[in-house]
């Protein structure tokens, strides 16, 4: 607690519809789907065919490059449908769920007494290896590597994010077991970042076997990438792994109970959510299962798995992502507004700048929609305009331009190893030139992976 890292830069977006801390519904879906696109750097090879029985934890997909990395079924049931897209690309594996869930038994173990290899094997077999994200590039972790350290962010600052203490507060034992397991995989220790505001009240400050850090500040202080850049910035040729707290708990449950258990509390939130609150469910659940929150018609609603800044627009037929515990419902902003940009007062529009009058109402929450509020333009504002929302020691605009130019040397120089698109999401939010910055950065990362392979 003594050396709190206070981040001055950042922005909390005042959007309406934060979830009340009650679980108002437990959703047991008829079907869940495994979506390979949830896992960056994963090339799926199908291990099942339609009609196969699976238990929760049975392998469904394997990675082509690392066949030992498995994606397993989150529920028990029967493989109902394999959905393919263009060029037979695998989009979804749909599993019809059993009424009574059966779990593969991976055996209860005490992670403290296991060796690194035993932990690795357990994670690979259960499908929880995919929960580990490797930086740079934000891809599936390579089991052959030993990372410099492992980082866990124990809070989220994303708009309307699920409350960590409500979601995981009663799973402290599982989180602790998960941390114990992860420490086996690295020599650099497991770094857990906590929020300084509630340091004393959160159970996670009692975590053992972890190096604790505290952060204060606005979004993106809770992003693990931002935290890493303040704890130990990633260099060229270095590898670190990150695991979300949610997934750490899942790893812990694997060892404590011997089960692949991905059930979680999901915040259903956003301006279009009728009664924003939590649902108890599993990843891969369809968005239509959340109908209680959006009512009769899904017209004009954007379904986002994740938060409004870096979540995925999955659509009405989409699924809750593997890593997500938040569903945000936002209105599609297809309305036009006469002389919108020229009107001096637009009290229902939020701007982080003082070019509108939203600075007069610092406590107001806004009914935001997906309107771009402008057209795409070349970058006009200077680097500072973007860096004031990014608490990292980088020049975001230079990095973005290097990504556009596809200049490997420049990308390296400006810190491509340290960032993932989500870390620059706020740049995209504030950009008056309305560029798709996260997409630009992702393309830069893809180019790096291709060139560095």
């Amino acid at each position: 607690m003594s050396n709190n890292i206070d981040l001055k830069k950042g922005l909390d977006i005042p959007i309406k519809g934060s979830a009340k801390p009650v679980v108002s519904k437990t959703i047991v879906p008829d079907t869940v789907a495994i979506v390979p696109a949830d896992f960056k750097g994963f090339t799926p090879r199908l291990l099942v065919k339609e009609g196969d029985r699976v238990l929760a934890g049975s392998p469904v997909l394997a990675d082509k490059k690392h066949p030992e990395i498995l994606i397993t079924a989150p529920v028990s049931g029967t493989v109902k449908e394999i959905v393919r897209g263009d060029k037979r690309k695998l989009l979804e594996v749909r599993i019809g769920t059993d009424s009574v869930q059966e779990y593969m038994d991976f055996g209860c173990k005490r992670p403290e007494s296991l060796s690194a290899d035993e932990v690795r094997t357990a994670l690979l077999q259960s499908g929880l290896w995919a929960a580990i994200i490797q930086r740079p590039y934000g891809i599936l972790a390579d089991p052959a590597l030993k990372p410099k350290a492992i980082f866990i962010s124990a809070f989220s600052t994303a708009p309307l994010a699920a409350d960590t203490e409500f979601v995981l507060g009663d799973e402290f034992a599982a989180v602790q077991a998960g941390v114990n397991a992860l420490t086996k995989l690295t020599d650099g220790g497991v770094h857990v970042s906590l929020k300084s505001d509630n340091y004393a009240s959160t159970p996670f400050h009692k975590l053992e076997n972890a190096i604790l850090h505290t952060f204060s500040g606005k979004h993106p202080a809770g992003n693990v990438g931002v935290q890493i850049s303040h704890i130990a910035p990633i260099q060229k040729d270095e590898t670190v792994w990150t695991v979300s707290l949610l997934m750490t708990a899942a790893i812990g449950k694997l060892f404590l109970k011997g089960k692949y258990d991905l059930r979680r509390k999901v915040a259903v939130c956003g301006p279009m959510a009728l009664e924003p609150s939590y649902a108890q469910t599993v990843p891969g659940v369809g968005m239509k299962e959340f109908q209680a929150w959006y009512g009769a018609s899904a017209d004009g609603i954007r379904f986002i798995s994740g938060d409004v800044l870096s979540g995925r627009n999955v659509g009405e037929d989409g699924r809750l992502g593997f890593f997500d515990n938040q569903v945000t419902l936002v209105k599609e902003g297809t309305d036009t507004e006469l002389f919108g940009w020229a009107r001096p007062f637009r009290f229902n529009q939020f701007s982080s700048t003082r070019s509108y009058f939203s600075w007069l109402l610092p406590r107001k929450k806004y009914d935001m929609d997906t309107n771009l509020h402008g057209g795409p333009r070349a970058f006009v504002m200077s680097d500072n305009y973007y860096s004031k929302v990014i608490p990292m020691d980088i020049y975001p605009l230079y990095l973005i331009k290097a990504c556009i130019a596809g200049d490997i040397d420049k990308m390296e120089q400006f810190g491509i190893y340290e960032v993932l698109p989500e870390d620059l999401a706020l740049c995209e939010y504030v950009d008056p030139s309305k560029n798709y910055i996260q997409d630009i950065v992702q393309k830069g990362i893809d180019l790096m992976i291709q060139e560095m392979a």
Binding site: V330, V380, D393, Y398
Partner: protein, 381 residues
């Protein structure tokens, strides 16, 4: 948008134009496709309208001052302030400049956007607002048209439009005029608008106070036979000069709006003033001039340039540290020119263009130093 303006339609060549007017009238219903699903309500239109509004006080004062200077020159020092009459006179003189600046500039802008297949960028709204304010009121309209065409085409469009240009297009217009038609841009010929057949009163001068600065304070205070030459006259702006540059009061009003909304960088404004004060003070100390440094700030185009031109986010330095250096250089060079080039005392235009030229280099140094320092910090950590 009507189908005939879409690709393949008969009037596709008007696509960018129609789109520009449509989005000008109403914020379109375009939604984010990916990435951040919600967006800040600010866009370039908003930034530009704020910038344009910030220039309006200087423009209105400039119009009135055109009339007032005319009155002083033909009626003598006792001419009345006559706010409406003088404004109307100036308005009629300045209006054609605006028609030419916007007409020629936007025509090229719309055509280029169409050729590139992009939406029309709002950047020229600001350039077009500035151009008439930084030229002498009597500049021949055809010259202005040629200069605007040159600046927009070769200063901006060949680089890829707003956001890609190296030099401030408005200043490029002025530079083009200055180097191509120097007779109309300096001396005493074109600063005071006269009706046909009118002549200056005996003893009245058409020269700006700035053109006397090379000869020191006595020459400066004795500059205007018909207009006042105290510090406060310069500050309020009741002296001849380019249309919008004379009134520091009006310019400061604009500066407050720009800084409050964050559209312009306070660092650039502050460092420009600091650079000017330092060199002005050195000039006093070394005996190069007896004009006090603070008087330099209210003369000529210094204030206008520091507030509206040097701060152009596209052509100024991009890094925060770079902004300090960039602004300081502009202020320092501007006063250096005034001290050592009595033939052409208005140094602000060239100082800013030079600053624009060196901004990428300044940024390059700043960014590289940052990277090197960061690498070192990590190595020792």
């Amino acid at each position: 948008m009507n189908k005939i303006f879409e690709k393949g339609g008969k009037l596709y060549f008007l696509h960018s134009t129609v789109d520009a007017f449509e989005t000008f009238l109403k914020v379109p219903g375009t939604v984010s496709l990916k990435g951040a699903h919600v967006r800040d309500s600010i866009d370039l239109k908003r930034i530009m309208i704020i910038a344009v509004i910030s220039v309006i006080p200087a423009a209105l004062f400039g119009m009135w001052n055109v009339g007032y200077q005319h009155a002083l020159a033909v009626q003598g020092a006792g001419a009345p302030l006559d706010i409406l009459g003088n404004f109307w006179f100036g308005f009629l003189k300045v209006l054609p400049l605006y028609v030419i600046a916007y007409g020629v500039g936007l025509l090229i802008e719309f055509a280029s956007a169409q050729i590139r297949g992009e939406e029309v960028n709002e950047g020229y709204l600001m350039s077009g607002m500035l151009i008439p304010l930084i030229v002498p009121v009597d500049v021949p309209l055809w010259m202005l048209a040629v200069a605007v065409a040159f600046a927009v085409l070769f200063g901006k469009e060949v680089f890829g439009g707003t956001g890609m240009n190296i030099w401030n297009p408005a200043l490029l217009t002025r530079a083009f005029l200055f180097f191509s038609y120097p007779d109309h841009m300096s001396g005493s010929g074109s600063w005071i608008a006269l009706r046909k057949g009118e002549t200056l009163l005996d003893g009245a001068t058409g020269a700006t106070p700035l053109s006397f600065i090379g000869d020191g304070m006595d020459a400066l205070t004795g500059a205007g036979a018909q207009y006042g030459t105290s510090f406060w006259d310069f500050f309020v702006g009741t002296v001849p000069g380019s249309v919008g540059e004379t009134s520091v009061v009006a310019i400061l009003l604009g500066a407050i709006l720009l800084l409050w909304t964050g559209v312009a960088s306070w660092k650039i404004m502050v460092s420009t003033v600091a650079g000017a004060l330092l060199v002005g003070w050195l000039g006093n100390v070394c005996g190069a001039t007896d004009v006090p440094a603070y008087t330099q700030l209210v003369l000529g185009g210094f204030a206008f340039g520091a507030v509206f031109m040097a701060t152009d986010p596209v052509t100024s330095a991009q890094t925060e540290c770079g902004k300090w250096i960039y602004g300081f250089l502009i202020g320092a060079i501007c006063i250096l020119v005034r001290l050592f080039n009595p033939g052409y005392a208005e140094g602000m235009m060239l100082a800013i263009l030079l600053g624009n030229t060196f901004a990428p280099l300044i940024d390059w140094v700043v960014v590289n130093r940052h990277t090197a320092r960061k690498a070192k910090k990590i190595r020792t950590a």
